[in-house]
Each structure stands twice: as C-alpha cells, then as structure tokens.
Symmetry: C2
Subunit: 453 residues, 2 copies
C-alpha cells in the first residue's frame, strides 16, 4: 500500500508527458482521469508551452475549473490569456472568492473588464467585492464562503441544520463561527464541542471567546502568515473595522503564501522576476532577463570607469589587472552573505531599533576578522606569485577594507531600501554588487597608485 | 478590537527589549507573562545573545518547555547548549516527539548521550524511537501521540470516551484515526461525522477509507510537503512497511517545513550556512563565513591565473584590464538567474527527462538572444570609449559566448550536482561563478590575444 502510493504521482506524470506526443486524445483523457485536480495542476505546471495547450483542452469544463484552483497564478494566467472572455467568465463562476481576485488581478486590465462584462450579476458583484480588497492583505487571502451559527441556538439545532448540509461541508472543518446581529463576530464553536457536549446547551454557553483572535482585513499577508505560524491555527476569521465577520482564512492558503514569500526573495535576490513560470516561452524569458542584465551592465560600466582612472598604474604593474577581479569577487560574496541574512530577518520581522545596530556592529567585526585572515593569506600568496612584496601589502590592505565595508553595506543597504519603501530582496543584489565593486576597485587600485606612485 | 490586536505583538516585543537593560526582574516577568509562548519564542529569536540568557532565565519551567516547542531549532540549540544535561532532560520531558528528535539531533553528540542518561525510562525510550527515524522523512516529522478508535465501536461510545478527555484534545483536531488489531490503519473518522451522524452507527459504517492516503514513514519531507499542498490536508497518518499506524503529521509542521526549505535554498545560494541564527555571536559567524570566503578565494585565484596567461596582451592594450571584470559580472548574473530558476524547479520536483532538455535549449536561446543585444550595445560603447573598434569586436563576441555558455551551465550545473547527490542550492553559487569567470576571462582575453596578436 505504502510503496504503491508513494510513487503514484511522479510515475503518472512522467508517463503522461511521454505519451503526450502523438498519443490519441481518448487515451490521454483516460490517463488524465486517474489524476486528482491537484495532480493535474502539477502536470500542467511541469509541461512545456505546446503540451500545456493540448492537456488543457482535454479537460472538461468542471474539471478545468477545479484544476484552475490548484494551479499557481503564473501558469493559470498564461492559460487564461489564450481563452475568450466568456470562457474565462464561465471558469471563474465556480472559483472561490480568494482565487477569483488573484486570477482577475493577474489578467491584463482590458481582459479583466471584458471578463466582468461576460459575467452574470451574482458573479460580477462577487468579483467586484473580491477585487476591492488589496491582494496582499488578509482581505485578499480570505474566502467569503462562511459557515456561521447564532449564539442562542441549541447545540442540537446546530447539529440538525449541519446534518442537512453534511455533503457540502469541507472535510477538514474544525470549527464554526458564531455571529450575532449585523454579522458581529462573537466566538467560535469547535466541532469537537459540538460532537461531545450536551445537545441542550446553547452555542453561547460553550463557544470559545478567549482563544478567538480575528484578523483585521487590512492586516498584511506577511503578518497573517506569522500569526498562523505562531499560533498553530488551522483557520482564522477576518473582520472589518467594526468587528463584523467578512471572511475566513484557512491554513492551506498560508502554506502557499509562505512558500511564495520565501520563493520571491530567492528569485529576486538573483535578479529574476518573482513568480516566473519555469516553462515560460523563450521570448518572454528573454525580455524578462534582458532588463536585469541591462541594469547590471550599467553598474558594471561604473566599475569599469573606476578602473579606467588607474590605467597608468596598471600599465606600470600588470599584476594589478590579474588581481582586480579577485578583490571584486571577495567583496561581492562577503556582501551577499550579509545582505541575505538581513533580507531574511526583515521578512521574518526580526529587526527592531536596538538589534539592527548590534547586527551592523557584528557584521563589521565579522568582515574585519575575516578580512584579517584572508589579507594575511593573500599577502603571502601575491608576494610569492609576483615576486613583489608591495603588491602583497596592497592586496592585504584592500581585502581588509573591502570586506569590512562590504559586510557593513550588506546590513545598511536592505534597511535603507526597506525605509524607502522598496522590496529589499528585489534591488539589493544589483545595487550591492555596484557598491562592492566600486569599493574593491577603488581601495585596491587607489592603494596601488599610492604605493607605486 | 481589530487595531488593538493587530499591533499587540511588535509593540510588546519592542517594549520588552527596550526595558530589558537594567529593568528589575519582577517587572520583566510581569511584562513577559502577558505574551503567549509563540510570542515569547519570537521575542527570544529577536534578542541579542546577552539578552536571550536573561529572558530565558526568567521563564518558569513549564513556560520554558512550551517556548522551546515554538523556537526555531537554531535558537533552541543555542540556548540548550548552555544548560546542564539534567535541565535539558527535564525540559524535553514535556516536548512532543517530533520536536524531541529535532532538538536532540541539534545538540553535540556527547551532550545528547549525557541528556539521554539523565532521562527516565519512558522518556529515554521515547527519545530513542524518535531518533530512529531520519529527520528528513515523514517519520522524522510525525508525532506519535495519536488518538485512535476501533472499527467496531458505536459512535456513541467513541463520543463518551472522547468526552472524558475533552480538556486534553487538540482544539484544531479534524478527525480520529481508525485502527484494527496490531494497529493496522483502516480509515479515518472526521469529527463532523461524529458530531452529526446517528450515534448508534458503528465507526466502520461511517469511516472514510477512499480519501485516506497514509504516508509511508520513509517518504522524504519534501514529498510530504508536496502532498499536503496538493491535497489541502490538515493532517495525515504515517504508516510503516506493513501498514501499521506509527504517527501523524499536522499542517502546522508543514508550514514550518515549507518555510525552512525555501529559506535554506535562499541562504545556500548566497554561501551562507542554512539555519544560521540571525543573532548568533560574532565569533561563530566569523567562523561560518570564513569557510565560504576561503572557497571563493580559491576559485577567484583560478580566475586570476587565467588572466595571468594573457599578461602580455594586457600590457599591450590596457583597455582589456578595464573591461575584464565587466565580462565576469555579466556572465555571473546571467548564470545565477538561470541556476536559481533550476534550483527552484528541482525543489518543486518539476523537472523530468523531457522538460529538462527543453529548458536547456530555451536558456541557451535566451543567453544567445540577450548576448546579441548587449554585445551590440557594448561594441558601440567600447569602440567609442577607447576609440578602438577592435576592442568593440572583441567584447561583443566575448559577451555573446559568455552569456550563451553561462545560461547553459546554469541549467547543467544544478542538475549535475543533484545527480551526484549534493544539494544543488548549496554548491551551485560558488562553482557557477568559477565557471562563468573562467569562460568570461578566457573568451575575452583569448579573443583579444588573437585579434591583437
């Protein structure tokens, strides 16, 4: 049983992908029917642009709507982009509110309007409500499909009512929300209590109020994720400014969110647009990459201009040309190590007024300490290699200066970018390298000009 | 209500941290008593080494055990490291099995043995069982504290039994597991069914079997996380080779796991040891950083040796020294963009035999296409800057070659490292830069030697 299950997904996926070229549609459809919507979504995410269209067209309309729910946003927007507005409107009619907003926001503005025009009254108002919340807040994460009970009902009545809807209740439901008039949130009724306590008690008598910590709809998604992790929640209610219940967030959306946040940071630090689809078409990727390569070219030219200032010194001591890139490389790695730690600490909300100065001081010491070690090593190596103790002294001093500065800038730069309202992960990489290059070149060649001048 | 709650944690934390220097212990203790164990854990994670010891000592023993559960492993092992084996054994006696193994594994080997010696019989056997599972598998993630029922009980009997233990049942429990003789896993009983269905039915009549997908204890944690995300689970049972129930994994551990995985990749790509505590002491950080800086120095020396081969050409055309670091920088960024996408795709298990060759071809085209664009730009700029069209031709060709190669290596290197059983995120960064540097230097200076020779 265990082994059989363990290998099911990858095999089915590989098998499908191998058979897809030239297979007849009915065979493919039967293979696909053995997969869950989550597995189908994964299959679509792994397939190449041409395959993706074939697979998508084999799904019937109900299955397509379910798969859409499990797809990551970059792939779903790729797929929807090729559909007609009425097809999109149809697919979205069976999508939950939180997905609805995500998907509509990922479409080009003109297409969004066309899709809204194709919707019936109910879906349109649902969409407009969903779009009214900022995607990066609790309001953007929540679903508005809620199961609520009144405080004065008997547990028996609640159970009777729920029994009638048992087929449609989510299986991993752990509690019902208790609301008063005007949808005022009063408490929560854990299912375990509904199952076990005396049926003649009222909801008010048994509901939890202490442990109920509703999230304001304006709370940032990063904060929402943090609360879920701190409190080990499975779900949490969302309220508006006046304490009215407006939605509910469940932990499966948090798992996705946490992965997305961490992924964005990873991709952004490497000068890649976040949420890039792994199998995006060549031209699209070319365009995305060209931008950051261009920015990098500009900053590298700045570095080259610094070197050009010292052409005469280099002409006199060619060894300098041999070692200049080494200084830039060491300073770059030292800076990136530090700024990555700081970007992570910022995303975990770990920094405050006090500990950030401690961190700056620590990283300076770390840079200075490491600078000393590798300065001594390089002084010996360079002196021996070029049979010139002056170049040993120059490179040693330059490593000490570059590493201390790189580590300090590695702390200060993400903090400054955050203060300026920019995403520290996005811009830190390229800007940091500009700084570390310039400092490396200036210190190394500047000292050389002085020592040899 | 909303606003008040939204700002509670950061304020309380900042306030505490500011008052901690010189505050009297009783005031601190009363401030801390207003925080939940999750919030206290966050506070300890944010505090500096000296503060951390003070705060920790103010916790009473019961609170300390709870906080330990919420702390991330790097901070908890820092704290435990300073305690006596009997204190650690006491703290671990109230820790759940999955934390137990994590914490014991994070301690130095000799300390682990000393702690095991201080434990009572029950805790020792619990620890030994927990340690027998690989930390990176379902067995390492699971807790063995299970709530099970027999298949032939009436729902009424189950409810009666559960009622007696209501105070100790986890509040976010969504289902009970059904086991036969020998602990053979038979199905699950969603609480919603226990609450709503006829109490005179037997467990066997209502239990879920189709939707029950137990995880083999040997399944890798990455696979476990993937399954939870695909299926939107709140919890899942873990079984051994013979289908016996051995434990249960809950979604809150998955949230942590997903963040950890993504974070490790981010840190490893930047040559930082994963799980480094943000506020680790200076000397420890200096040691950790020194290692990767040393490796980088070695690879940078390799790059310098390549440059040294062309000393004569550089002496003849000093402009080459000005532009050499620019080539390395462009090739490095191009390579990192690609390898980051590939490392992410590997961690999401998106790559198979077919699509990896497609990806290689696409990235080569992207590199070639981008190479063409920036080659033309640099040909014009360099020719004008140095008033020398030959250097324009050399840098253009070199950019085209370097970018195409860098993108291709960006795909091949993580795949090769994975094939060799190494963590692609950990070693890709430094090795990739070695390749891109060498290719950049060789193509640029090699072409120059030929054109000017």
């Amino acid at each position: 049983m265990a082994g059989q299950f363990a290998e099911k997904l990858p095999q089915a996926g590989e098998e499908l992908l191998e058979k897809i070229t030239g297979a007849n549609p009915s065979m493919l459809r039967s293979l696909m029917s053995s997969l869950s919507s989550g597995e189908l979504a994964q299959l679509l995410e792994q397939s190449l642009p041409a395959q993706r269209a074939v697979l998508w067209n084999l799904l019937d309309e109900d299955a397509a709507a379910e798969v859409l729910h499990s797809l990551n946003t970059e792939v779903s927007s790729e797929i929807l982009h090729d559909l007609q507005p009425d097809q999109i409107a149809f697919l979205l009619s069976s999508t939950s509110d939180d997905d609805l907003a995500d998907i509509l926001q990922s479409l080009p503005k003109t297409l969004t309007q066309a899709v809204l025009n194709q919707m019936d009254e109910h879906d349109r108002s649902r969409s407009e409500r969903a779009l009214s919340y900022d995607a990066n807040t609790a309001g953007g994460l929540m679903t508005t499909e809620l199961i609520t009970v009144g405080p004065d009902h008997l547990l028996k009545t609640v159970a009777d009512q729920a029994r009638r809807h048992i087929a449609t209740l989510p299986e991993n439901l752990d509690s019902l929300l208790v609301v008063g008039r005007d949808n005022q949130l009063l408490g929560s009724l854990p299912l375990i209590k509904l199952a076990l306590l005396d049926p003649s008690l009222t909801v008010r008598e048994v509901m939890e109020t202490d442990s109920l910590t509703p999230l304001p709809h304006t709370l940032s998604s990063a904060e929402v994720a943090e609360r879920f992790q701190l409190n080990h929640w499975v779900s949490a209610p969302v309220i508006d400014e006046d304490g009215h219940l407006v939605g509910r967030i469940t932990v499966d959306d948090i798992v996705e969110l946490v992965r997305d946040q961490a992924e964005s940071a990873l991709l952004n630090m490497a000068s890649v647009k976040d949420h890039e689809d792994t199998f995006a078409p060549t031209l699209k990727v070319m365009r995305l990459r060209a931008f950051w390569l261009g920015i990098n070219l500009l900053t590298a030219l700045l570095g080259s201009s610094v070197i050009k200032l010292f052409e005469e010194t280099i002409a006199q001591v060619i060894a300098l040309a041999v070692l200049t890139p080494l200084i830039a490389s060491m300073a770059g790695v030292a800076g990136i190590q530090t700024s990555t730690i700081v970007v992570r600490a910022l995303s975990l909300n770990q920094l405050n007024r006090q500990n950030r100065w401690w961190l700056l001081r620590r990283e300076f010491y770390v840079g200075f300490g490491n600078g000393l070690i590798w300065a001594v090593v390089m002084a010996v190596l360079a002196s021996a290699w070029f049979n010139d103790t002056t170049i040993g002294a120059v490179i040693a001093l330059s490593i000490l200066i570059s590493l201390s500065c790189a580590k300090s800038i590695g702390v200060l730069l993400p903090l400054a970018l955050k203060r300026l309202g920019s995403d520290p992960a996005l811009s830190t990489g390229v800007i940091l390298t500009t700084f570390t290059d310039v400092i490396g070149f200036l210190s190394f060649l500047g000292l050389a000009a002085w020592f040899y001048g």
